[in-house]
Amino acid sequence: MAQGEKQRSVLRINLDILNAVRDEGDAKPTHILYKANLSHERLVKYLDDLTAKGLIEVKQEGEARTYRLTPKGVSFLIEMRHAESFVQGFGLAI
C-alpha cells in the first residue's frame, strides 16, 4: 500500500504539472513551478520525464523556454481526469 501511495503522489505531481501547462498554454517553468508547488530541481526532473514520455513538448525561443501539451498529453490528461472522478467515487484520491 505504501508503494501504491508513493506512486499515486508521483502521479498527482505529474497531473499538477500537466494541468499547469494546459492552463498556461505556452507555460514558463516559473509558472509551472508556482502552480505545481515544486522546487526547481524536482520540477526539472519531472519536466524531463514528461517530455521523454511525449506528454509535453519544449519550445525554445532564444533564452526563453516554454512547455505545451502534446496531443498525447491532452489525451492522457482527459483519461486521468476521468480516472480521478472514478476513484473519488470509491473514496480514493490520486
Binding site: 483519461e79 481526469r81 476521468h82 476513484v87 473519488q88 470509491f90 480514493l92 484520491a93
Partner: protein, 214 residues
C-alpha cells in the same frame, strides 16, 4: 412466459451490464493508478456481473419451462446456488477493497468474521437464506465504509456510489425477507430496488465520464 420472470431477467441483465462496465472502468484506471482497491472493485463487480447474467438466464429458463423434470430441477438448483455463491464472493471482494480504501490494509478483518459467524449461525438450513444473509452483512459493511469515506472526503461522486450501495443493501434486505416469507412480490420489489442501485452506479459512471471529457 411469466411476467415476473421476464421482469427479473430484464432487470438482472441491465444490472449485470452496469456491473461489468464498472468492472471495466476499475480495471482500466487501475492501469494508471495502480491501486489494490481498484483491483478488488474490478474483480468484485466482474463476479457480480457474471452472477447476475447467470441468475437472469435461470429466471428466463424457469419462466419458459415448467421445470418438472429432474434434470431441469437439478440445473436450476445448480445455477441458483452458483449465482448465490458468486454473489457472496463478489460482495466479499468489494468489502475487502472498500475497507482498504477506508483504513488501509489492516482492518479488513471485521466484516469477514461477522459474515462467517452469521453463516455458521444459519448453517446449511437454507442456502438461499444463508447467501442473502452473508451478502447483507458484507453490504452493510460496504455501506458503513462508504459512509466513513464519504464523511471524510465528501464529493458528489462518493455520494452517488454510497446511494448505489445503500440501495443494493436495501434490496438484499427485501430479498432476504422474500426468502423467509417465500413472497414472490417481495422478491420482485427487491430485484427492482437492486436495479435502482445499479442505475445509480450508471449515473456515477456517466457523470465521471462527463467530468473527464470536460
Amino acid at each position: 412466459m411469466a411476467s415476473g420472470a421476464l421482469i427479473t431477467f430484464s432487470l438482472n441483465i441491465l444490472g449485470a451490464l452496469v456491473a461489468l462496465l464498472t468492472s471495466y472502468y476499475a480495471y482500466r484506471f487501475n492501469r494508471l493508478v495502480e491501486s489494490t482497491v481498484l483491483r478488488a472493485i474490478s474483480l468484485g463487480f466482474m463476479l457480480l456481473g457474471v452472477g447476475l447474467i447467470l441468475d437472469a438466464g435461470t429466471s428466463l429458463f424457469s419462466g419458459r419451462t415448467l421445470v418438472e423434470s429432474y434434470a431441469d430441477r437439478v440445473f436450476v438448483l445448480f445455477a441458483t446456488y452458483t449465482y448465490l455463491t458468486v454473489q457472496m464472493v463478489a460482495y466479499l471482494v468489494i468489502a475487502v477493497g472498500y475497507s482498504r480504501a477506508a483504513y488501509g490494509s489492516g482492518q479488513t478483518k471485521t466484516a469477514v468474521p461477522a459474515a462467517l459467524v452469521g453463516s455458521a449461525a444459519i448453517g446449511l438450513y437454507d442456502f438461499s437464506l444463508l447467501s442473502y444473509f452473508v451478502a447483507l452483512i458484507l453490504l452493510a459493511f460496504v455501506v458503513f465504509q462508504g459512509f466513513l469515506l464519504h464523511s471524510g472526503r465528501s464529493n458528489r461522486f462518493s455520494t452517488i456510489v454510497l446511494l448505489a450501495f445503500g440501495l443494493i443493501f436495501a434490496a438484499h434486505l427485501v430479498l432476504l425477507l422474500s426468502v423467509l416469507t417465500l413472497g414472490t412480490g417481495l422478491f420482485l420489489i427487491g430485484t427492482g430496488i437492486q436495479f435502482l442501485g445499479f442505475l445509480s452506479l450508471l449515473v456515477f459512471l456517466v457523470r465521471s465520464e462527463v467530468v473527464g471529457a470536460g
